[in-house]
Symmetry: C2
Subunit: 416 residues, 2 copies
Amino acid sequence: MNINEIVKAANKAKIKLMSLSSDKKNEALKAVAENIKKYEDKIYEANKKDLEYAKTLVEQGKITNATFGRLKLDENKMRDMIAGIYDVIKLEDPVNKLIFARQLDEDLILKKVSVPIGVLGIIFEARPDVIAQISSLAIKSGNAVILKGGSEANNTNAAIFEIINEALNNVDNFPKNAVNLVYSHEDIKKMLDMDGYIDLIIPRGSNKLVKFIQENTKIPVLGHASGICHIFIDETADFDMAQKICIDAKTQYPTACNAVETILIHKNFKYCEELKQTLIKAGIEVIENPEEYGIEYSDTILNTKIVENLNEAIEHINTFGSHHTDSIITNDENNAEIFMNNVDSAGVFKNTSTRFSDGFRYGFGAEVGISTNKTHARGPVGLDGLCIYKYKLIGTGQIVDVYAKGIKTFKHKDLK
Amino acid sequence: MNINEIVKAANKAKIKLMSLSSDKKNEALKAVAENIKKYEDKIYEANKKDLEYAKTLVEQGKITNATFGRLKLDENKMRDMIAGIYDVIKLEDPVNKLIFARQLDEDLILKKVSVPIGVLGIIFEARPDVIAQISSLAIKSGNAVILKGGSEANNTNAAIFEIINEALNNVDNFPKNAVNLVYSHEDIKKMLDMDGYIDLIIPRGSNKLVKFIQENTKIPVLGHASGICHIFIDETADFDMAQKICIDAKTQYPTACNAVETILIHKNFKYCEELKQTLIKAGIEVIENPEEYGIEYSDTILNTKIVENLNEAIEHINTFGSHHTDSIITNDENNAEIFMNNVDSAGVFKNTSTRFSDGFRYGFGAEVGISTNKTHARGPVGLDGLCIYKYKLIGTGQIVDVYAKGIKTFKHKDLK
């Protein structure tokens, strides 16, 4: 099948996926997990091929050592990949939840019910273990999915994909073409043109990838292009807490999108110099460069700025931040409140590390990504973010005309 | 101010709007309603000017009589406009609702709280009373709004806009530039380019307007380009109910987006001919034209198709419909269930008229429009659809490193 046929087949599958029972979805997920376990050697073998080629790319300077590391599947990743599927099985089914029920009039009942979105297009880079994670979230949420992985991982991706689909094909009455994989860069372009068939695109990867996708499709895109996170150290901040949190937010995983990039320090904070010295001792390059406020270092570099007051900090964050996650360190309840209400970001934190903004840490079980969108879903996106709702209206012959004429009036009585 | 300055001013206002109390917002709404009442003569005067010019446009065939009718403000519309604002005052504040609270660990509390989206761009056509309605929904939901009305209504729009802003300017501590009006077609194009400053565009108007907007912006667009709604008359449908509902769905307001366009009739439905005759007697032009399945007549014309079974009906609707509202007339519970689960539309109805899909009838108080999107908001969109959420994390110095190292583990205990 070519990309058009694949997407159209997925679009057909979505209708059947919408009304699958929780049991059927969990049965499918279990089959997938078991099949991956059964054929893990095949996956390692395919991964070995990818690694051999990737090694030459590293030598040629075409990919980084970090990318090579993400590409490599070891026992830990394999175990996590399989455990991740069992975690998704345990999560509550996000579909067919009754959001509200309302009696519009006698024998005229309106129900708002959660349903899958339809067809997801997920475009990701190097990490092949993402396929299993995303596929299981898609299955659990009743969505069809078109996956496009990084070409460096083509062999590993293909192996995992085939093992997943072999499992799904053996599950009675599980729709065909629910999980799909495409390979070429040309396929991405074609996917982006298929609005009307693909309902949501989720890119997971570099700023460049995400921006390219955002600029080249009419399909809604969920995710974030950059993670420019801040910590504001208020006048009353505890020195020990401030240093601990700054070091964690910068060094615990410097390339993460929720790592801090700029620290704003209140001009009356007494331990400004001590703080900088501690950060430097922790291996952080501390700079003060107004030209780099909008930059995501993805490295142990930290920009700093002295601010006059809370308001300047808030304005700075709303201007230069990426509306991802920003934290205030303070002992002033009132300032914390103002900060959290006025910083326009998906995550607004008080006295904690920005690194906490993550689906697993929030207790969502798994995430498809972190969104800086202002509509649909914001912050770490779990199963709920892969659903929308429909309105079911159950009547007994009612027509609008009698209400328009005032013969009857609506009751609008909430039942739930 | 030019359009760029207006949008940027609105973008500043949004931060202040986000944390306004319900009382302050209701005080502002009351002031607006009172000021409109106070200056209604000014509005009629401005409307008279627009009508005089519009009359020449009607004579030249440049606008229709229907458009002229929508442009005209009479006492009823004025009363409804003012009453509509008081209705919005009565609605529950959609902002700052606690969606959930979860203890991630000791003294580390995650709260998911509803917040305004930010800056809305609303582009609408002829009806000037829409300004008051949309402005009040924006104020209540804490959003800044840029309004662009139809040029035929420029005088009326300007008069209502000035009266609204005079009222808002006199409310203590109400942010300036919360409600904004722009006038030219050029301004629309510039608005559509201001992603990063405008968070959501809601077009209300013709298919042409909506499609133009959808195709020319990276800002999320909420709404529907067309309303191609269906009624499926199942084998077991009650004849009397079927005819009543079909007549209502087609004739009660033929230009409405939720009016029915195609009736699908099960081949074994016994009263097919009788039904067609009744529809014709009701003044409907009944046709059977496979070339016109995707057409919105916006008139008392009804396409019909005989289908083999429920499945063909569902496939027809999912293929040719606009995912707006579709209804089944049946006495078969099981078929109704299958229809409502498998038709992929914002509204799936059983034994009722498609005309019920409307914010007022659903009990939302008011609506900004009806969405056929698959993300964010679907169906009639009320105040909730103008909000998103943010995550507030309140800690006491926690860092991620100790959880990553397994020294501490998450509790993930739901508090609400």
